[in-house]
């Protein structure tokens, strides 16, 4: 599948180059000196240009800025913007600076709104630097007017391993679920595992990963589907208690996590909870569930923590200034390295079109300079899904005395189940 799309990409790039030779083409490309400029690239400076002599590359962001996942979307967006501000201040990408502020749209975590705002900016941006919401992103990729559009998703479903136009970063929810269970079995001696999760791509992806690992390790597995809302977790809490699980993998939002962990622990539950990335919000440490969360919850992520000691994190913290430390800010910043590598190569090749970028992305093999901020193996879009899959996990413990509210626990690791897993389709389809 990747090969056929790569061919399509080459064909598109060649076509664009030929058309560019005749000046501006129907697709919006134009020749600028030796470079071919596509949609969202101009020789005019960016609105807030550092250097007025440089052209501008416009990237779009469609995130949840006011909806239920605003706690994720806002800092992700801030982090991405801070990253590109630094890049621009350090000279930009060749003869261009990068704008990620003009075309920022709020999807309110609603697929219809997502589609509307995408239609508004589709003809204005070179690629989508952040798209939050799996269903909405899937729909956007199927849009006839976006057949060469590259997207950096703000979700970690294993389905992205099978999409050629998606620049997935980090470990999938599925592999994260496997690692959580492997940790429970290897470090806690767990023989009973449960997964509390939302229905749908995110929750099911995590739960299927946990189930695969539980089966592989010979542990009993209890699947607990739950809906949104802190007040709707009575059944989930009861199921967790009945399961007597040693480890519970959670794939919900922060409110549901607090209700489940707080509710179960207050009723005497002794097991450990491991939450997927979206379960965490540092504000939970101010909630009534904080004691239970501090005692029984671990956060699973594949990204180094906000306070990590790397050149990238140091630069990020300096750029963040007095803004509260936030792990999602760090992830938003981290995603910038993938796009920076992509754009640098595009500028070097002289093809700043969507087709050109698709071609370049299809040949990226993971050798990304990220100043220590991206998980090992990130940015490999040339190989097959199993080669591209990042499989590492770093566990964090809540720590109210740290800036970001969490601190790493132990080393980053890949469990035996995730290590040997053969990704043949999105995990959530195996529910």
């Amino acid at each position: 599948m990747r090969r056929s799309v790569r061919r399509l990409g080459v064909l598109a790039a060649v076509t664009t180059l030929v058309l560019a030779g005749c000046g501006r083409d129907d697709g919006g490309s134009e020749a600028e000196g030796e470079a071919t400029l596509g949609t969202g690239v101009t020789s005019e400076p960016c609105p807030d240009a550092v250097d007025e002599s440089k052209g501008c590359i416009y990237l779009g962001i469609i995130s949840d800025l006011t909806g239920v996942f605003a706690g994720v979307g806002v800092p992700l967006t801030d982090g991405g913007q801070a990253f590109w501000k630094r890049v621009n201040e350090e000279g930009g990408i060749g003869d261009y600076e990068v704008d990620v502020t003009t075309y920022v749209k709020d999807n309110k975590y609603d697929p219809d709104t997502h589609a509307e705002v995408f239609a508004e900016i589709n003809d204005e941006v070179l690629l989508i630097a952040q798209s939050l919401g799996t269903i909405a992103t899937e729909a956007m990729l199927r849009d006839n007017d976006a057949d060469e559009l590259l997207v950096l998703p703000a979700t970690l479903g294993s389905n992205w391993l099978f999409e050629d136009r998606v620049l997935e970063i980090g470990t999938s929810y599925c592999a994260e679920g496997m690692n959580a269970v492997d940790y429970g079995v290897d470090e806690l001696g767990a023989d009973k595992v449960a997964a509390v999760h939302f229905p749908g791509d995110y929750g099911d992806d995590t739960a299927v990963g946990a189930r695969i690992a539980a089966e592989a390790r010979g542990a009993d597995f209890t699947d607990i589907t739950t809906g949104p809302g802190a007040d709707q977790q009575t059944a989930a809490v009861a199921e967790v208690l009945k399961s007597e699980a040693d480890i519970v993998v959670v794939a919900t939002g922060p409110l549901e996590l607090a209700a489940v962990v707080g509710g179960a622990v207050s009723q005497g539950f002794q097991g450990k909870f491991v939450g997927a990335i979206p379960t965490w919000n540092a504000a939970l440490l101010q909630s009534p569930a904080a004691p239970a969360i501090e005692a029984s919850y671990l956060w699973a992520s594949s990204f180094p923590g906000y306070d990590a000691d790397t050149p990238g994190h140091e630069a990020m913290r300096e750029a963040a200034g007095d803004a509260p430390a936030n792990e999602y800010f760090a992830m938003g910043w981290s995603g910038g390295y993938i796009l920076k590598a992509l754009l640098e190569e595009a500028v070097e090749s002289g093809d700043l079109t969507r087709g050109g970028l698709l071609e370049i992305a299809s040949s990226m093999s993971g050798d990304i300079e990220s100043e220590g901020m991206l998980p090992d193996g990130s940015g490999n879009y040339a190989g097959d899904p199993n080669e591209a899959a990042v499989r590492v996990t770093q566990l964090f413990t809540p720590a109210a005395d740290t800036d970001a509210g969490v601190e790493p626990m132990g080393d980053i690791f890949t469990g035996p189940t995730a290590e040997g897993h053969d990704f043949t389709e999105a995990c959530y389809l195996q529910k």
Binding site: T66, T225, G227, T234, A235, L255, A283, A289
Partner: protein
Amino acid sequence: MTELLTAVSIGAGNGSVYALLALGFVIIYKAMSVISFAQPAFMLSGAVLVSHLSPRMGFVAAVVVGTIAIAVVALVVERVAVRPMVGKAVFVIAIITIGIDIVVRVVAGAFVGVDPRTIGDPWGLDVTTIGGVQVQHRHIAAFVVTGLVVALLFAFFRFTRMGLAMRATALDQEAAMAQGVDVGRVFAVSWALAGALAAIAGVFASAGNPIDQNLWIIALTALPVIILGGLDSLGGAVLGGLVIGIVQAVVSTYHSTWFPFLDTNSGAIVPYVLMLLVLLVRPQGLFGTKEVERV
């Protein structure tokens, strides 16, 4: 048995929240013969306001100030958006209250911010063991405070001039007017009371949990409560709230045992199933007034 009693205690706490909300619906319905769909917004507004006030003035003062403030907001909303519509079709006014709900929710939601908020309640997730049953303090508090509020409300309707005026208006609006009752004032007080009750409900719905702008969804459960209890029955609202809260918690607790083939939480549909069952037997609800039409 312990598990069942634990579920009952949870249900009594949640049911108290439903009862407070349902009382607001019923009070407005009795005054204006209109179902106000603005209650969810007042509930969210109350919780959000208390979450902002609590760190500054302490929880109890925040609840008092927040409740009064939301009552005033409801009063203003009634005067500005509802009163001019009096005399129009009931359906039109009900639709207007939906609009009010959306506007107020959007405004209140803007004050939630990016991260979940907490209201700073003193109960948290603390529990007391009674006869081997773990009962959460927040549920005890919700139940007790609801009991007090209901007692005060009934005393208000029974012993005050305004309460008498409201009862008279509920019985026959035109006759009340003929007797000198200021019906406009009755409408205003009804909305203020409903707003205050929704704010208190919001506080207890938020106790023990962080909140976001979707808190208002809880208030939708009050709709089957008022249908079950009877649209014009204050007692029905209280009983309906408790019944639905308890049955919902019990079904949620035994969900996987009773409905292993269902993937999601069956507790969420309990209020509506109960409502349907009651309507099949008593179309006017458990305690509602049977409608008589002359032909």
